[in-house]
Protein backbone atom coordinates (compact mmCIF):
# COMPACT_ATOMS: atom_id res chain seq x y z
CA UNK A 1 0.00 0.00 0.00
CA UNK A 2 1.58 3.26 -0.98
CA UNK A 3 1.04 6.64 0.56
CA UNK A 4 -1.53 7.65 -2.01
CA UNK A 5 -3.65 4.61 -1.33
CA UNK A 6 -3.34 5.31 2.35
CA UNK A 7 -4.88 8.73 1.79
CA UNK A 8 -7.69 7.46 -0.36
CA UNK A 9 -8.57 4.69 2.11
CA UNK A 10 -8.53 7.15 5.01
CA UNK A 11 -10.76 9.46 3.00
CA UNK A 12 -13.26 6.70 2.22
CA UNK A 13 -13.36 5.57 5.84
CA UNK A 14 -13.83 9.13 7.05
CA UNK A 15 -16.70 9.79 4.65
CA UNK A 16 -18.40 6.48 5.44
CA UNK A 17 -18.02 7.17 9.15
CA UNK A 18 -19.61 10.60 8.77
CA UNK A 19 -22.49 9.18 6.74
CA UNK A 20 -23.00 6.50 9.37
CA UNK A 21 -23.08 9.00 12.22
CA UNK A 22 -25.12 11.73 10.55
CA UNK A 23 -27.62 9.84 8.41
CA UNK A 24 -27.78 6.19 9.34
CA UNK A 25 -28.07 6.64 13.07
CA UNK A 26 -31.79 6.30 13.49
CA UNK A 27 -32.47 4.59 10.22
CA UNK A 28 -33.82 1.09 10.55
CA UNK A 29 -36.01 -0.38 7.85
CA UNK A 30 -39.21 -1.64 9.49
CA UNK A 31 -37.41 -1.25 12.82
CA UNK A 32 -35.51 -4.37 11.90
CA UNK A 33 -32.84 -3.80 9.31
CA UNK A 34 -29.95 -1.55 10.34
CA UNK A 35 -27.40 -0.24 7.88
CA UNK A 36 -23.81 -0.58 9.04
CA UNK A 37 -22.40 1.11 5.98
CA UNK A 38 -19.11 2.09 7.60
CA UNK A 39 -18.07 -1.57 7.44
CA UNK A 40 -17.52 -1.06 3.72
CA UNK A 41 -14.40 0.88 4.69
CA UNK A 42 -13.06 -2.22 6.42
CA UNK A 43 -14.29 -4.63 3.76
CA UNK A 44 -12.39 -3.03 0.89
CA UNK A 45 -9.07 -2.75 2.72
CA UNK A 46 -6.53 -4.79 0.75
CA UNK A 47 -5.78 -8.38 1.72
CA UNK A 48 -2.14 -7.41 2.27
CA UNK A 49 -3.06 -5.46 5.38
CA UNK A 50 -2.21 -7.57 8.45
CA UNK A 51 -4.72 -8.61 11.08
CA UNK A 52 -3.26 -6.55 13.91
CA UNK A 53 -3.41 -3.07 12.32
CA UNK A 54 -6.80 -3.97 10.85
CA UNK A 55 -8.11 -4.96 14.26
CA UNK A 56 -6.78 -1.81 15.92
CA UNK A 57 -8.39 0.29 13.21
CA UNK A 58 -11.71 -1.52 13.64
CA UNK A 59 -11.53 -1.09 17.40
CA UNK A 60 -11.02 2.65 17.12
CA UNK A 61 -13.73 3.05 14.45
CA UNK A 62 -16.23 1.04 16.48
CA UNK A 63 -15.40 3.02 19.56
CA UNK A 64 -15.92 6.39 17.86
CA UNK A 65 -19.27 5.19 16.58
CA UNK A 66 -20.22 3.92 20.03
CA UNK A 67 -19.54 7.26 21.62
CA UNK A 68 -21.85 8.95 19.15
CA UNK A 69 -24.55 6.28 19.28
CA UNK A 70 -24.48 5.90 23.06
CA UNK A 71 -23.98 2.15 22.64
CA UNK A 72 -20.62 1.98 24.42
CA UNK A 73 -18.70 -1.19 23.59
CA UNK A 74 -21.22 -2.83 21.26
CA UNK A 75 -19.93 -1.60 17.91
CA UNK A 76 -16.40 -1.92 19.27
CA UNK A 77 -16.81 -5.58 20.15
CA UNK A 78 -18.54 -6.43 16.88
CA UNK A 79 -16.07 -4.51 14.71
CA UNK A 80 -13.08 -6.13 16.39
CA UNK A 81 -14.57 -9.55 15.77
CA UNK A 82 -15.24 -8.53 12.17
CA UNK A 83 -11.64 -7.43 11.66
CA UNK A 84 -10.29 -10.57 13.29
CA UNK A 85 -12.33 -12.82 11.03
CA UNK A 86 -11.88 -10.90 7.79
CA UNK A 87 -8.34 -12.08 6.85
CA UNK A 88 -9.13 -15.64 7.92
CA UNK A 89 -12.31 -15.68 5.87
CA UNK A 90 -10.53 -14.15 2.91
CA UNK A 91 -7.96 -16.94 3.06
CA UNK A 92 -10.32 -19.86 3.55
CA UNK A 93 -13.11 -18.71 1.28
CA UNK A 94 -11.03 -17.76 -1.68
CA UNK A 95 -11.63 -20.25 -4.45
CA UNK A 96 -8.54 -21.62 -6.16
CA UNK A 97 -6.78 -18.67 -7.65
CA UNK A 98 -9.47 -16.47 -6.20
CA UNK A 99 -9.41 -13.41 -4.02
CA UNK A 100 -5.71 -13.17 -3.33
CA UNK A 101 -4.84 -12.16 -6.85
CA UNK A 102 -7.02 -9.09 -6.47
CA UNK A 103 -5.37 -6.90 -3.87
CA UNK A 104 -8.54 -5.17 -2.93
CA UNK A 105 -11.65 -7.28 -2.33
CA UNK A 106 -14.13 -4.73 -3.60
CA UNK A 107 -17.10 -5.22 -5.89
CA UNK A 108 -15.37 -3.67 -8.87
CA UNK A 109 -12.33 -5.93 -8.48
CA UNK A 110 -13.81 -9.34 -7.70
CA UNK A 111 -17.29 -9.21 -9.23
CA UNK A 112 -20.74 -9.43 -7.70
CA UNK A 113 -20.98 -13.15 -6.96
CA UNK A 114 -17.66 -13.35 -5.17
CA UNK A 115 -18.26 -10.08 -3.40
CA UNK A 116 -21.55 -11.30 -1.94
CA UNK A 117 -20.08 -14.60 -0.80
CA UNK A 118 -17.17 -12.72 0.75
CA UNK A 119 -19.06 -9.87 2.41
CA UNK A 120 -22.36 -11.39 3.51
CA UNK A 121 -21.07 -13.90 6.12
CA UNK A 122 -18.84 -11.24 7.65
CA UNK A 123 -21.67 -8.71 7.80
CA UNK A 124 -23.97 -11.32 9.30
CA UNK A 125 -21.47 -12.21 12.01
CA UNK A 126 -20.96 -8.52 12.74
CA UNK A 127 -24.70 -7.93 13.07
CA UNK A 128 -25.14 -11.05 15.17
CA UNK A 129 -22.41 -9.96 17.59
CA UNK A 130 -23.87 -6.47 17.75
CA UNK A 131 -27.44 -7.53 18.45
CA UNK A 132 -26.43 -10.17 20.97
CA UNK A 133 -24.56 -7.46 22.86
CA UNK A 134 -27.52 -5.09 22.45
CA UNK A 135 -30.25 -7.45 23.60
CA UNK A 136 -28.26 -9.30 26.24
CA UNK A 137 -30.71 -10.75 28.74
CA UNK A 138 -33.76 -9.24 27.07
CA UNK A 139 -35.63 -10.45 24.03
CA UNK A 140 -35.43 -13.89 22.45
CA UNK A 141 -32.74 -15.30 20.27
CA UNK A 142 -35.09 -15.54 17.31
CA UNK A 143 -35.54 -11.77 17.26
CA UNK A 144 -31.77 -11.30 17.37
CA UNK A 145 -31.35 -13.75 14.52
CA UNK A 146 -33.90 -12.12 12.25
CA UNK A 147 -32.59 -8.63 13.05
CA UNK A 148 -29.06 -9.76 12.24
CA UNK A 149 -30.08 -11.41 9.00
CA UNK A 150 -32.04 -8.45 7.70
CA UNK A 151 -29.40 -5.97 8.82
CA UNK A 152 -26.75 -7.97 7.00
CA UNK A 153 -28.87 -8.02 3.84
CA UNK A 154 -29.63 -4.30 4.08
CA UNK A 155 -25.99 -3.43 4.73
CA UNK A 156 -24.90 -5.62 1.83
CA UNK A 157 -27.30 -3.83 -0.51
CA UNK A 158 -26.09 -0.44 0.75
CA UNK A 159 -22.43 -1.36 0.23
CA UNK A 160 -23.16 -2.63 -3.29
CA UNK A 161 -25.06 0.56 -4.14
CA UNK A 162 -22.29 2.79 -2.85
CA UNK A 163 -19.65 0.88 -4.78
CA UNK A 164 -21.65 0.90 -7.99
CA UNK A 165 -22.36 4.60 -7.71
CA UNK A 166 -19.14 6.06 -6.38
CA UNK A 167 -16.26 3.67 -7.07
CA UNK A 168 -14.52 3.94 -10.38
CA UNK A 169 -13.85 0.71 -12.14
CA UNK A 170 -10.18 1.23 -12.84
CA UNK A 171 -8.53 2.10 -9.61
CA UNK A 172 -11.24 0.85 -7.34
CA UNK A 173 -11.51 4.00 -5.37
CA UNK A 174 -12.66 7.32 -6.69
Amino acid sequence: MNIRNLFSYSFVILILGLVQILFLKNLALFGHAFGFLYLLGLLILPSTLRTIPLMLLAFVLGFILDVFFETIGMHTAAATLFAFLKPIWLKTASPTGGFDEAEEPSLTQIGLGRYVSYAFPLLFIYSLAFFIADQWGTGGFLGVLSKSFFSAVFTLILTILVQVLFFRRKRGIS
Binding site: I21, N26, M55, F68, E70, I72, F84, G143
Partner: protein, 279 residues
Protein backbone atom coordinates in the same frame (compact mmCIF):
# COMPACT_ATOMS: atom_id res chain seq x y z
CA UNK B 1 11.02 -21.05 27.03
CA UNK B 2 11.92 -19.94 23.55
CA UNK B 3 9.23 -22.18 22.12
CA UNK B 4 6.63 -20.68 24.41
CA UNK B 5 7.64 -17.23 23.26
CA UNK B 6 7.57 -18.36 19.65
CA UNK B 7 4.13 -19.82 20.19
CA UNK B 8 2.90 -16.63 21.81
CA UNK B 9 4.36 -14.66 18.94
CA UNK B 10 2.54 -16.82 16.43
CA UNK B 11 -0.82 -16.33 18.11
CA UNK B 12 -0.24 -12.62 18.76
CA UNK B 13 -3.15 -11.63 16.56
CA UNK B 14 -5.50 -13.82 18.55
CA UNK B 15 -4.12 -12.53 21.85
CA UNK B 16 -4.68 -8.96 20.78
CA UNK B 17 -8.16 -9.92 19.60
CA UNK B 18 -8.98 -11.47 22.97
CA UNK B 19 -7.65 -8.40 24.75
CA UNK B 20 -9.64 -5.94 22.62
CA UNK B 21 -12.83 -7.98 22.98
CA UNK B 22 -12.32 -8.09 26.73
CA UNK B 23 -11.91 -4.33 26.74
CA UNK B 24 -15.09 -3.86 24.69
CA UNK B 25 -17.14 -6.17 26.88
CA UNK B 26 -15.84 -4.44 29.98
CA UNK B 27 -17.02 -1.14 28.48
CA UNK B 28 -20.47 -2.58 27.78
CA UNK B 29 -20.81 -3.85 31.34
CA UNK B 30 -19.45 -0.68 32.91
CA UNK B 31 -21.79 1.46 30.85
CA UNK B 32 -24.90 -0.60 31.56
CA UNK B 33 -24.65 -0.83 35.29
CA UNK B 34 -27.03 1.86 36.51
CA UNK B 35 -24.77 2.97 39.33
CA UNK B 36 -21.48 2.72 37.48
CA UNK B 37 -20.09 5.96 36.21
CA UNK B 38 -19.96 6.18 32.45
CA UNK B 39 -16.52 7.16 31.28
CA UNK B 40 -17.20 7.83 27.65
CA UNK B 41 -20.51 8.94 26.27
CA UNK B 42 -22.14 11.68 24.33
CA UNK B 43 -22.10 14.07 27.27
CA UNK B 44 -18.45 14.49 26.32
CA UNK B 45 -17.95 18.08 25.12
CA UNK B 46 -16.56 17.24 21.69
CA UNK B 47 -19.17 14.62 20.83
CA UNK B 48 -21.93 16.71 22.38
CA UNK B 49 -21.14 19.74 20.26
CA UNK B 50 -20.97 17.61 17.09
CA UNK B 51 -24.36 16.13 17.90
CA UNK B 52 -25.71 19.59 18.61
CA UNK B 53 -24.60 20.81 15.17
CA UNK B 54 -26.46 17.89 13.63
CA UNK B 55 -29.55 18.62 15.71
CA UNK B 56 -29.37 22.28 14.68
CA UNK B 57 -29.88 21.26 11.07
CA UNK B 58 -32.41 18.47 11.59
CA UNK B 59 -34.57 20.30 14.13
CA UNK B 60 -34.82 23.34 11.90
CA UNK B 61 -37.33 21.42 9.83
CA UNK B 62 -39.56 20.64 12.78
CA UNK B 63 -39.56 24.14 14.26
CA UNK B 64 -43.16 24.73 13.20
CA UNK B 65 -44.36 21.60 14.99
CA UNK B 66 -42.36 22.46 18.09
CA UNK B 67 -43.84 25.95 18.05
CA UNK B 68 -47.40 24.70 17.78
CA UNK B 69 -46.89 22.30 20.66
CA UNK B 70 -45.44 25.07 22.82
CA UNK B 71 -48.27 27.47 22.03
CA UNK B 72 -50.87 24.84 22.86
CA UNK B 73 -49.20 24.07 26.12
CA UNK B 74 -48.85 27.74 26.93
CA UNK B 75 -52.56 28.25 26.40
CA UNK B 76 -53.42 25.33 28.65
CA UNK B 77 -51.11 26.61 31.39
CA UNK B 78 -52.50 30.13 31.12
CA UNK B 79 -55.98 28.73 31.59
CA UNK B 80 -54.94 26.78 34.66
CA UNK B 81 -53.21 29.84 36.05
CA UNK B 82 -56.37 31.91 35.67
CA UNK B 83 -58.33 29.37 37.66
CA UNK B 84 -55.72 29.30 40.38
CA UNK B 85 -55.29 33.01 40.83
CA UNK B 86 -56.30 33.97 44.33
CA UNK B 87 -58.96 36.61 44.69
CA UNK B 88 -57.91 39.57 46.84
CA UNK B 89 -60.57 38.95 49.49
CA UNK B 90 -59.79 35.32 50.19
CA UNK B 91 -58.20 34.17 53.43
CA UNK B 92 -54.43 33.62 53.45
CA UNK B 93 -53.35 30.01 53.67
CA UNK B 94 -50.38 29.06 55.80
CA UNK B 95 -47.86 27.12 53.74
CA UNK B 96 -47.18 23.75 55.30
CA UNK B 97 -45.37 20.73 53.91
CA UNK B 98 -48.36 19.62 51.86
CA UNK B 99 -48.37 22.84 49.87
CA UNK B 100 -44.66 23.44 49.67
CA UNK B 101 -43.26 23.34 46.18
CA UNK B 102 -41.12 20.24 46.03
CA UNK B 103 -40.52 20.09 42.30
CA UNK B 104 -38.41 22.40 40.20
CA UNK B 105 -38.60 22.43 36.43
CA UNK B 106 -36.07 23.27 33.74
CA UNK B 107 -36.39 23.22 29.99
CA UNK B 108 -33.82 21.52 27.77
CA UNK B 109 -33.24 20.76 24.14
CA UNK B 110 -32.73 17.24 22.84
CA UNK B 111 -29.63 17.03 20.65
CA UNK B 112 -29.50 13.27 20.16
CA UNK B 113 -31.96 10.48 20.60
CA UNK B 114 -32.11 6.84 19.63
CA UNK B 115 -34.99 4.40 19.60
CA UNK B 116 -33.72 1.44 17.66
CA UNK B 117 -31.56 -0.28 20.24
CA UNK B 118 -32.65 -2.01 23.40
CA UNK B 119 -30.74 0.46 25.57
CA UNK B 120 -31.69 3.88 24.28
CA UNK B 121 -30.39 7.19 25.54
CA UNK B 122 -31.05 10.88 24.97
CA UNK B 123 -28.46 13.62 24.94
CA UNK B 124 -29.71 16.96 26.29
CA UNK B 125 -28.17 20.37 25.79
CA UNK B 126 -28.13 21.38 29.42
CA UNK B 127 -25.59 20.28 31.96
CA UNK B 128 -24.10 20.77 35.37
CA UNK B 129 -23.66 24.47 34.62
CA UNK B 130 -27.44 24.84 34.52
CA UNK B 131 -28.00 22.74 37.62
CA UNK B 132 -28.80 19.40 36.03
CA UNK B 133 -28.02 16.47 38.30
CA UNK B 134 -28.03 12.72 37.73
CA UNK B 135 -31.38 11.25 38.77
CA UNK B 136 -33.63 14.05 37.57
CA UNK B 137 -36.77 13.07 35.71
CA UNK B 138 -37.32 14.02 32.06
CA UNK B 139 -40.73 14.59 30.48
CA UNK B 140 -42.43 16.72 27.86
CA UNK B 141 -45.92 18.00 27.25
CA UNK B 142 -47.01 14.62 25.90
CA UNK B 143 -45.77 12.46 28.75
CA UNK B 144 -42.72 11.01 30.44
CA UNK B 145 -39.45 10.69 28.54
CA UNK B 146 -36.76 9.32 30.86
CA UNK B 147 -34.33 9.99 33.64
CA UNK B 148 -30.91 11.70 33.71
CA UNK B 149 -27.99 9.31 33.88
CA UNK B 150 -24.85 11.38 33.76
CA UNK B 151 -23.96 15.04 33.42
CA UNK B 152 -21.08 17.05 32.02
CA UNK B 153 -20.49 20.79 32.01
CA UNK B 154 -22.90 21.63 29.15
CA UNK B 155 -24.57 18.34 28.24
CA UNK B 156 -26.33 15.50 29.96
CA UNK B 157 -27.26 11.95 29.00
CA UNK B 158 -30.59 10.49 30.05
CA UNK B 159 -32.05 6.99 29.97
CA UNK B 160 -34.96 6.97 27.59
CA UNK B 161 -38.14 5.18 28.74
CA UNK B 162 -37.19 2.96 25.81
CA UNK B 163 -34.34 1.49 27.80
CA UNK B 164 -34.83 -1.96 29.22
CA UNK B 165 -32.97 -1.10 32.40
CA UNK B 166 -35.23 1.79 33.44
CA UNK B 167 -38.15 1.14 35.80
CA UNK B 168 -40.73 3.83 36.50
CA UNK B 169 -43.31 3.65 39.23
CA UNK B 170 -46.77 4.08 37.71
CA UNK B 171 -50.46 3.68 38.49
CA UNK B 172 -53.70 3.19 36.66
CA UNK B 173 -55.56 6.47 37.00
CA UNK B 174 -59.08 5.15 37.45
CA UNK B 175 -58.34 2.44 40.03
CA UNK B 176 -55.18 3.85 41.66
CA UNK B 177 -53.55 0.43 41.33
CA UNK B 178 -49.81 0.80 41.01
CA UNK B 179 -47.06 -1.12 39.27
CA UNK B 180 -43.81 -0.55 37.42
CA UNK B 181 -43.42 0.50 33.84
CA UNK B 182 -40.63 -1.14 31.89
CA UNK B 183 -39.83 -1.45 28.21
CA UNK B 184 -39.49 -4.94 26.77
CA UNK B 185 -37.28 -3.82 23.90
CA UNK B 186 -39.70 -4.68 21.10
CA UNK B 187 -41.79 -1.75 19.85
CA UNK B 188 -40.82 1.89 20.30
CA UNK B 189 -44.45 2.83 21.00
CA UNK B 190 -45.30 0.27 23.68
CA UNK B 191 -44.18 -0.47 27.23
CA UNK B 192 -45.24 -3.02 29.84
CA UNK B 193 -46.90 -2.38 33.19
CA UNK B 194 -45.52 -4.96 35.61
CA UNK B 195 -46.52 -6.26 39.04
CA UNK B 196 -50.25 -5.64 38.75
CA UNK B 197 -52.00 -8.51 40.57
CA UNK B 198 -54.55 -10.61 38.77
CA UNK B 199 -57.65 -9.57 40.72
CA UNK B 200 -57.36 -5.99 39.51
CA UNK B 201 -59.87 -4.96 36.88
CA UNK B 202 -57.93 -3.19 34.17
CA UNK B 203 -59.45 -2.53 30.83
CA UNK B 204 -58.36 -1.31 27.46
CA UNK B 205 -58.21 2.48 27.21
CA UNK B 206 -57.45 3.15 30.89
CA UNK B 207 -54.95 5.93 31.43
CA UNK B 208 -51.65 5.18 33.17
CA UNK B 209 -49.85 7.97 35.03
CA UNK B 210 -46.80 8.29 37.26
CA UNK B 211 -47.51 7.35 40.86
CA UNK B 212 -45.34 9.95 42.57
CA UNK B 213 -43.98 7.25 44.91
CA UNK B 214 -40.51 7.28 43.48
CA UNK B 215 -39.58 10.87 44.26
CA UNK B 216 -38.28 11.39 40.71
CA UNK B 217 -41.47 12.30 38.90
CA UNK B 218 -44.32 14.28 40.40
CA UNK B 219 -47.61 12.45 40.63
CA UNK B 220 -49.92 12.44 37.63
CA UNK B 221 -47.65 12.79 34.62
CA UNK B 222 -49.10 10.95 31.66
CA UNK B 223 -47.43 7.72 30.57
CA UNK B 224 -49.93 6.26 28.13
CA UNK B 225 -53.07 4.22 27.67
CA UNK B 226 -53.61 0.53 28.20
CA UNK B 227 -53.85 -1.24 24.87
CA UNK B 228 -53.86 -4.89 25.93
CA UNK B 229 -54.56 -6.84 29.14
CA UNK B 230 -53.66 -10.49 29.49
CA UNK B 231 -52.82 -12.94 32.25
CA UNK B 232 -49.06 -13.20 32.58
CA UNK B 233 -47.96 -16.51 31.09
CA UNK B 234 -44.84 -16.84 33.20
CA UNK B 235 -46.42 -15.92 36.50
CA UNK B 236 -50.22 -16.33 36.47
CA UNK B 237 -50.62 -14.32 39.67
CA UNK B 238 -49.97 -11.15 37.73
CA UNK B 239 -51.45 -9.45 34.73
CA UNK B 240 -49.38 -8.61 31.72
CA UNK B 241 -50.48 -5.16 30.63
CA UNK B 242 -49.30 -3.38 27.49
CA UNK B 243 -49.37 0.40 27.40
CA UNK B 244 -49.27 2.59 24.31
CA UNK B 245 -46.97 5.47 25.14
CA UNK B 246 -48.39 8.97 24.88
CA UNK B 247 -44.96 10.40 24.09
CA UNK B 248 -43.84 10.23 20.49
CA UNK B 249 -40.18 9.36 20.88
CA UNK B 250 -39.40 9.86 17.24
CA UNK B 251 -40.22 13.57 17.49
CA UNK B 252 -38.55 14.80 20.65
CA UNK B 253 -37.31 18.39 20.39
CA UNK B 254 -37.70 20.01 23.76
CA UNK B 255 -38.16 18.39 27.15
CA UNK B 256 -38.54 19.42 30.77
CA UNK B 257 -36.23 18.31 33.53
CA UNK B 258 -37.82 17.91 36.93
CA UNK B 259 -35.99 17.84 40.21
CA UNK B 260 -37.48 16.85 43.51
CA UNK B 261 -35.96 19.19 46.04
CA UNK B 262 -36.66 16.67 48.78
CA UNK B 263 -35.15 13.73 46.96
CA UNK B 264 -32.15 13.55 49.31
CA UNK B 265 -34.37 13.36 52.33
CA UNK B 266 -36.63 10.66 50.92
CA UNK B 267 -33.70 8.69 49.58
CA UNK B 268 -31.89 8.67 52.89
CA UNK B 269 -35.11 7.66 54.62
CA UNK B 270 -35.45 4.72 52.25
CA UNK B 271 -31.87 3.74 52.90
CA UNK B 272 -32.37 3.95 56.64
CA UNK B 273 -35.20 1.46 56.42
CA UNK B 274 -33.44 -0.70 53.83
CA UNK B 275 -36.05 -0.21 51.13
CA UNK B 276 -35.01 -0.36 47.51
CA UNK B 277 -35.92 2.88 45.75
CA UNK B 278 -37.16 2.22 42.25
CA UNK B 279 -37.27 5.06 39.82
Amino acid sequence: MLRILQFLYRVRAFLLFAFLEFLAIWMIVANNSPQGAAFFNSSNELVGSALKKQADVVQFFSLADANTALVEENARLKQELLQLQVKPDSIPLAIDSTLEATFELKGARVVANSLRFSQNYLTLYKGAKDGVKPGMGVFNSQGIVGRVKSVSENYSVAFSVLNTSLLISAKIKSSEVFGSVQWDGVKASEVQLLYVPRHVKASKGDTVITSGFNAVFPEGLLIGQISKVEVNKKDPNYLSITITLSTDFSKLNYVYLVENTQFQEIDSLYRQSDLPNEY
